[in-house]
Amino acid sequence: MGSFDTFLQQVFNGLVLGSLYALIALGYTMVYGIVNLINFAHGDVLMVGALTALSAITLAHATAPGLPGWALMIVGMAAAIVVCILLSLLIERVAYRPLRNAPRLAPLITAIGVSILLQTVSMLIWGRNHLTYPQLLPADPIAIGPATVTATKLAVIALSGIIMFGLLVLVQRTRLGRAMRATAENPRVAGLMGVNPNAVIAATFAIGAALAAVAGVMYAAVYSVAHFYMGFIPGLKAFTAAVLGGIGNIPGAMLGGILLGLIEALGAGYIDQLSGGVFGSNYQDVFAFIVLCAVLILRPSGLLGERVADRA
């Protein structure tokens, strides 16, 4: 495989990864945009989605063994979406809403607490071990040009694209989208205009959770594994992506996600050569952290975000 072929392969991998990060990042950025909160527990919602889907798929397969793989996938996703939406609404209502006007530390601690709770309860329900995700879509490698892809990975890119497009339409063209944007700008005035901020905020959480659920299922499908701690790293990386694109900015989250995926894939692919063998691909996770720190320190408004104004 020539070096350009490797490059293309890594680009493709980066797009797959990036699509996932983008979906998750959207949840972070929408919530942050509307209530100024970093939802620490968002990555764990993803995890619950993946594990719920697994249970649903297992159950569906047991009751109706004739169902084709893609149908099982849909069943799984539907179950994940429903559960995650309900879960996030519950969390928002119980843990976040009472602290909406509290200074920064309280909601952050609470979010950490919720994250721990989600992980522990998942541990209780699904156990500690890594669970295998069945191959639902045909696993035969497909060659697109010089790159090798699988049906699952293609599905990830396609589905993510459709969802992101749908979200943009929702935010720009629908009443709910307008209400969301208004509440993000100024909740009180939006309220005066007839928008119910609590309902809009709840809807934002719900949409974010649904996206995370889908991302979680696809993530587990791509890596063929799911377990109670799987949400932490993707969650943190997706947050990096959201910040990279400009926190609070929806197209920014999409852009940031794709970019981060590419950076990570290309970085992991080439770091061996670049560092003369000192650093191997086991440093892959470090990339995201370094990008995160660099962006927050050097350009905290991100790529598409507003420049933070000077305060007198």
Partner: protein, 393 residues
């Protein structure tokens, strides 16, 4: 200018209050001294738990300087613990001599740095990392600061986990073992010692050492709190711009917070290495940082007694759980339904959420009347950096 009157706001401690404080102090000292002996009867595990509690007290006090006094939200604090631990591990174990022939030649008797060198060294190196971590994040506030420090902590852990190729510095996930115990003169802490007719086991010896260090830490923190520097930290916590306008060099004062806070972590880490005889990256995960943060938040952010209380509570509680709930479940259900580790985490998560909702100032916050040492008044949660997350102009 009006002459100085007998101040209406003089030190409110009257003689009676001082006597009361002295008696309380003596009582606490007595309990602290007797505790390991009592615990020893229950089993070594309890004594070890107490020793770890003392280490956590040091960590909590150190983090309290950063988060409680200066209002800087650090989620990567455990990195300094790791730095201290690994520093001692490298300087007092066969690892370096085994892996680097040059060092083996230079130290034919092996590397056995004594603790009176190792502790200051661990403290200094940790302080250096503290300044290193603090310098780029000086302009960040609130959530952003938290996330970046979290990232730094993880980066350090990943490096510790991977710096075993091409040169084996840290021995990767396997960690470094055969670390020397604490040695003071001819006394080696890994063997029992006869003190005034009482036979003290090794964990008990370590406990007394750590308790002494913890007490020293508390004293240092109390003095810092009541000083020009302590007030500068609190001013920054309350309103950074106003602090600057009053001539406080915010940059240096923040770096001091990071550095001094890290020092506590470094010393505790070195002691941890000696006590456990073994260090690995697993001990320094994000969860550990969260645990230390929870200790100070649940205990009473910024309030030294509260912080100590939180540290002891959250480090001893899992032990209590393990020894009570485990057997209890066996009795009731015939088997362990919920692993105590999982139960501990579950209660942990619940505690964090519940405390923030109902007692956001912590279980033992600073008294509302009198001096305002700790942040938060009334039912308001602590105000660590009011900005949602952003950049300081």
């Amino acid at each position: 200018m009006t002459p100085v009157r007998a101040p209406a706001t003089a030190d409110p401690q009257s003689a009676a209050a001082r006597r009361r404080a002295l008696l309380t102090g003596l009582a606490i000292t007595a309990v602290v001294l007797v505790l390991p002996l009592a615990a020893g009867w229950l089993g070594t595990a309890w004594v070890r738990a107490l020793a770890f509690a003392a280490l956590y007290v040091m960590l909590a006090l150190g983090l309290n300087i950063v988060v409680g006094f200066a209002g800087l939200l650090d989620l990567g604090y455990i990195a300094f613990y790791a730095v201290g631990a690994y520093t001692f591990a490298l300087l007092a174990s066969p690892h370096l001599t085994d892996n680097f022939p040059a060092i083996a030649l230079a130290f034919p008797g092996g590397l056995h740095v004594p603790i009176w060198v190792a502790i200051p060294l661990g403290a200094t190196i940790a302080a250096g990392f503290g300044v290193l971590l603090g310098a780029p994040v000086l302009k960040l506030r609130g959530d952003y600061l938290a996330i970046v420090t979290l990232g730094f902590g993880e980066i350090i852990r990943i490096f510790l986990n991977n710096l075993n190729r091409p040169l084996n510095f840290t021995n990767g996930p396997q960690g470094i073992n055969l670390i020397d115990p604490v040695r003071i003169g001819i006394v080696s802490f890994d063997r029992p010692l006869d003190v005034l007719g009482v036979q003290l086991t090794s964990p008990q010896l370590y406990y007394y050492l750590f308790a002494a260090l913890a007490a020293l830490s508390a004293l240092v923190c109390a003095r810092l709190q009541d000083s020009r520097l302590g007030r500068a930290w609190m001013a920054i916590r309350e309103d950074e711009t106003a602090a600057k306008a009053m001539g406080i060099n915010v940059r240096n004062v923040k770096l001091l917070a990071f550095g001094l806070g890290a020092t506590f972590g470094g010393v505790a880490g070195a002691m941890f290495g000696a006590f456990q005889g073994f260090v690995s990256p697993e001990s320094f995960s994000l969860m550990e940082s969260v645990i230390v943060l929870s200790m100070i938040v649940l205990g009473g952010l910024g309030h030294i007694p509260g912080v100590i209380f939180g540290a002891v509570l959250l480090s001893v509680f899992p032990e209590v759980l393990r020894h009570t709930v485990g057997p209890l479940q066996e009795q009731i259900f015939g088997r362990i339904v919920i692993d105590t580790e999982v139960l501990r985490m579950l209660l942990y998560g619940i505690a964090l959420v519940v405390i923030m909702l109902y007692r956001p100032r912590g279980l033992w916050p600073a008294p509302l009347h009198g001096t305002a040492r700790a942040p938060g008044g009334g039912d308001a949660p602590p105000p660590a950096n009011r900005a949602a997350g952003g950049v300081e102009p």
